[in-house]
């Protein structure tokens, strides 16, 4: 499976994703510079964490209107797989590729901590290797991760099974105490209606090796690879 990792000038999880893809799951991977209008030959595009263009306005607001995001929009429209984590999730929301918005954390502080994620939807290329109700452990690291969306959209998202991850306790209870940033309904990750664009605030690349924070994040990568193996091709070109 060929991966492209998007690099904005202020991106910092690019090297981490690159490391996991090349050294841990041993797949071909290349960087995609933010000014590119053509993603080239890739099966899955990663929008990593960071501060894209500084994010002095609103996280992801400028990046959401950048050349590479136009290319990603076309790529996604053709069924290409897109995973945005942290700043990548913020950018996908700003670009309108995912519903909702990510506001400043309720505590008004940056939060870097371990979280537990309840898996709500295993019927996606990113989560098909997981069990429904499974609880994953993954770190977050953000100042603007409070997910918000209007009520009608939320109802549609529920109906379409678009909520993929929710912050929970280690036992899988969705509680207020387990919510690190004040997200609506503890939402940590959502997918688009078509099921090929996933955004999540937690960092799967930081939980892909046992020595640096567990291997639950690796399950997402393995699900992706499994999708390829099962289908032969990912999507019609």
């Amino acid at each position: 499976m060929k991966f492209g990792v998007v690099v904005f000038p202020g991106t910092w999880s690019d090297c981490d994703f690159h490391h996991v893809i090349s050294e841990v799951i041993h797949q071909p991977v290349k960087y995609v510079w933010h000014r590119e209008r053509d993603l080239g030959d890739v099966d899955c595009v990663i929008l990593p964490g960071g501060f894209s263009y500084g994010d002095y306005l609103r996280a992801g607001a400028v990046a959401g209107r950048s050349p590479v995001v136009d290319a990603i929009r076309d790529f996604a429209a053709k069924g290409g797989l897109v995973l945005g984590s942290c700043n990548g999730f913020q950018i996908l929301c700003e670009a309108g590729l995912l519903p909702g918005a990510l506001l400043r954390n309720e505590c008004l502080q940056y939060r870097c901590q371990s979280t537990h994620l309840l898996v709500d939807n295993v019927d996606t290329p990113f989560t098909r290797g997981l069990r429904p109700g499974q609880v994953l452990t993954m770190p977050i690291s953000h100042g603007e991760g409070k997910y918000q969306v209007d009520a009608p959209t939320l109802a549609r998202m529920r109906a379409g099974n678009q909520i993929v991850f929710r912050y929970a306790t280690a036992e899988g209870q969705v509680t207020r105490a387990a919510n690190p940033n004040g997200s609506l309904e503890n939402i940590a990750g959502v997918i688009n209606e078509e099921g090929n664009v996933l955004g999540m605030m937690p960092h799967p690349e930081r939980a892909a090796e046992a020595v640096v924070g567990g291997t639950d994040g690796l399950l997402l990568f393995q699900s992706l690879l499994g999708s390829l193996v099962e289908d032969g091709t990912l999507f019609p070109r």
Binding site: G10, H19, D55, Y56, R111, S141, V212
Partner: protein
């Protein structure tokens, strides 16, 4: 185009922080009166902050050499060879003065400055550690400072993308008027690809790269070289404003430009800005430099030569390129959308020649600027010290309920959990962090090798106050011991020396003694000092901070998988205490937090024993015999045990018996060097005993882990506290002030 400039007089020089003698020296060196711009250059370069006027004569006593030292003091940062072709570059710097005036930006730009020191060496920053000191957190003003400093560090480091992996935060009323913000950065570079701040090669072009220049931070170096009065807040315009995103661009662009081979040397425009770089870089190379200031990218209109030279606008570098390869440099910086403008040339005449729109505004020998005056001012032991030291803590009543005293000590803000701060810092970006903040030392892996790095900072102002020489040596011992407790062999040290005004003999005495203490310990432990800084004038309205040398230590683990953390892993393991019985309540956290007393004598320090204990701990960790290792520091043995019980993922109790002689508070809470607790699986106890026998250190089994209480039997008393109570106190002790 004539500029209306003030007339240069002695009074003007004094107003810029120069003395009459220094002004005289300028006249002699130039053979004429300086221009206004030249006077500005001298005032900044000869400030205490840049010139180390009062400290240099003492700093020479520090050991700076060693077989693995690739770069010692005198450059942007020090460098140590860690094997496999890799070098670790590190340095610690203070940003105390700006952080008091404007905590958020003061601390943020402190992080920015030290990141640039590391990246100018060609290294990619991989870790930040912060050593912070504040007054009593119950004071709302102090809370404002803590909150501002922590969010400033968080904002800058997180946006830049370098993890904050460690450091410490301690509290004492002496820091209320002068918080200490010491930031350490660690970077990695191929040992053969280290860059230096030199201006070699006559005719080579000089580039200004990075952010544009504004009027912020003018005379920041001079501000940092004076004490404060009640109107410190009026100096806010001398504090710079940070832009971490631009710093990230600068990092990527500099590393990319360096990789082209078109870069000769590079220096951060930190304190004293352009003035500092344009004199220090040629001074190191025995060359000169001519610069045209009108070429400097500016974000404000009508800036004078004086302002352009002394501005401390952030995220800027001066870079000397290879003549004929200018386009390669320009192309890289254009990719990152940063200014890269040729502002000058390296010249054979060893002078700094400054022009503004073609008019010469300064012509000064670079050595005159770079080699400021050096003073050997009088030192004197403070008259009151003998009485303070003579105090016997055992004249105070013992605790009625030692278990309650232990729980209270765990809630002391200095000992209590600092999670409130650390959860605001990204601790993992780069995915190298094997041990996150919360253990004796943090551990990072070095990708592509089996090796790991262990890093820790330490400094105990109370101990240094009572005995500067031994206290400073103890700080070196504790930071290296922290690294050893993680399994790392300490290889190099950086220090930040935070003191009051050196113009007071008793302060300079504290400083000189502390230097000797650091030198003693570094020699005995064979850990060279490869860089650091001195921060004097940490006093407000005559009240100096506790003398606080902070040291940062970097150690290497040959095999990163063979490391240890401080918390107990499971029940049923045996606990050993390594090191001597000698402890003292003098200068202890217990004495301060329980009795409000700062007095007494420190425990003895045997540097040979310290070295053997650290070696034994590392050997045991490397052999896989140790499941936890924790240094006994503030709060003594009882607090060390309690921390091992409650700082891990799940609380685990312990039952220990201590046969040391002395009153219960002395045995439980007395502090002393060279003491480490470790846990060992029972089936490996024999092997461990054999290893300890070889190591020639005093040690003893003291008990076992397990249960839901910490029970300590000592001095004929059974002290028993529930883990819930201990953990609750530890978790809330600091955070309750900040919530």
């Amino acid at each position: 185009m004539p500029l209306a400039e003030p007339k240069v007089t002695l009074d003007l020089a004094r107003g810029l922080g120069l003395t009459a003698d220094e002004y005289d020296r300028i006249l002699k060196q130039l053979g004429r009166e300086p221009t206004y711009t030249e006077l500005g250059l001298f005032s900044a370069l000869w400030s205490e902050h840049c010139a180390y006027k009062h400290s240099r004569v003492f700093l020479k006593r520090l050991p700076t050499q060693g077989p693995r030292v690739l770069q010692g003091p005198g450059e942007n940062a020090g460098a140590i060879d860690i094997g496999d072709g890799w070098a670790v570059v590190f340095k610690m710097e203070s940003h105390n003065h700006p952080s008091f005036i404007e905590p958020f930006q003061g601390a943020a730009t402190g992080v920015g400055g030290i990141l640039r020191d590391i990246l100018t060496m060609g290294a990619r920053p991989i870790a930040i550690l912060d050593s912070l000191r504040f007054g009593d957190p119950a004071d709302p003003k102090v809370r404002h400072l803590v909150s501002g400093v922590v969010s400033g560090i968080s904002w800058y480091g997180n946006c830049f993308g370098c993890p904050t992996v460690g450091g410490e935060i301690a509290f004492a009323p002496e820091y209320a008027g002068n918080p200490l913000v010491n930031v350490m950065c660690v970077g990695l570079v191929r040992a053969s690809e280290i860059f230096r701040a030199r201006a070699d090669g006559i005719g080579n072009p000089v580039f200004y790269v990075g952010n544009k220049t504004g009027r912020d931070g003018i005379h920041g170096a001079t501000m940092a070289s004076a004490t404060f009065d009640d109107n410190a807040h009026e100096r806010r315009p001398t504090v710079q404003v940070g832009d971490p995103f631009t710093e990230k661009l600068l990092l990527e662009a500099c590393l990319e430009a360096m990789a082209t081979g078109a870069v000769v040397g590079i220096q951060d425009m930190g304190a004293a800005g352009l003035a500092c770089c344009t004199s220090e870089m040629p001074a190191r190379s025995g060359t000169g430099m001519e610069v045209e200031l009108s070429a400097v990218p500016q974000r404000e209109e009508g800036m004078t030569p004086y302002e352009l030279l002394l501005s401390e606008s952030q995220e800027r570098m001066l870079l000397v390129a290879v003549r004929g390869r200018e386009e390669e440099v320009r192309r890289v910086f254009a990719k990152w959308e940063l200014d890269a403008v040729k502002v000058g040339t390296v010249i054979p005449d060893t002078s700094l020649v400054v022009r503004h729109r073609g008019h010469e505004v300064a012509r000064v020998p670079v050595d005159a600027l770079a080699d400021g005056p050096r003073y050997e001012k009088p030192t004197a032991e403070p008259a009151w010290l003998a009485e303070r030291r003579g105090f016997d803590p055992l004249t105070l009543p013992p605790p009625v309920d030692p278990a309650e005293a232990l729980v209270a000590l765990m809630a002391s803000p200095t000992i209590a959990s600092k999670e409130w701060a650390f959860r605001q810092y990204d601790q993992q970006v780069g995915i190298n962090t094997l041990v996150v903040p919360g253990s004796d030392a943090s551990v990072l892996r070095v990708k592509g090798t089996r090796r790991g790095l262990a890093v820790a900072t330490d400094g105990n102002g109370r101990q240094v106050f009572l005995d500067p020489r031994r206290g400073a040596a103890m700080a070196v011992c504790e930071a290296t011991r922290n690294v050893s407790c993680a399994g790392g062999e300490p290889l190099g040290l950086t220090d930040c020396l935070n003191f009051g005004s050196p113009e007071r003999p008793e302060i300079l005495w504290q400083f000189a003694e502390a230097i000797d203490g650091i030198a003693d310990a570094c020699r005995a432990l064979e850990v060279p000092v490869v860089g650091g800084n001195v921060s004097f004038y940490n006093e407000t309205s005559g009240q100096a901070v506790l003398p606080t040398p902070v040291v940062g230590v970097v150690g290497v683990l040959e095999d990163a998988s063979r490391m240890a953390t401080q918390w107990f892993k499971s029940g049923g393991q045996r606990i050993a205490l390594l090191g001597p019985d000698d402890v003292s309540l003098g200068g202890s956290e217990y004495l301060w937090s329980r009795h409000g007393t700062l007095a007494g004598t420190l425990a003895p320090l045997d540097l040979g024993l310290e070295r053997r204990v650290q070696h034994a701990v590392r050997a045991a960790i490397f052999a896989g015999l140790v499941t936890a290792a924790h240094d006994c520091a503030e709060g003594g043995l009882a607090v060390a045990l309690a921390e091992s019980c409650v700082t891990g993922p799940a609380p685990i109790g312990a039952d220990v018996s201590v046969d040391a002689r002395g009153r219960i508070d002395h045995v439980l809470f007395g502090e002393g060097p060279s003491r480490v607790i470790v846990t060992v699986e029972p089936e490996r106890a024999r092997e461990f005993e054999a290893l300890m026998a070889e190591s020639a250190i005093p040690w003893r089994w003291i008990g076992a882990t397990g249960g839901d209480r910490l029970v300590v039997r000592a001095s004929g008393t059974v002290v028993s506290a529930g883990l819930g109570e201990i953990e609750g106190a530890w978790r809330s002790g600091f955070e309750r002030h900040m919530a």
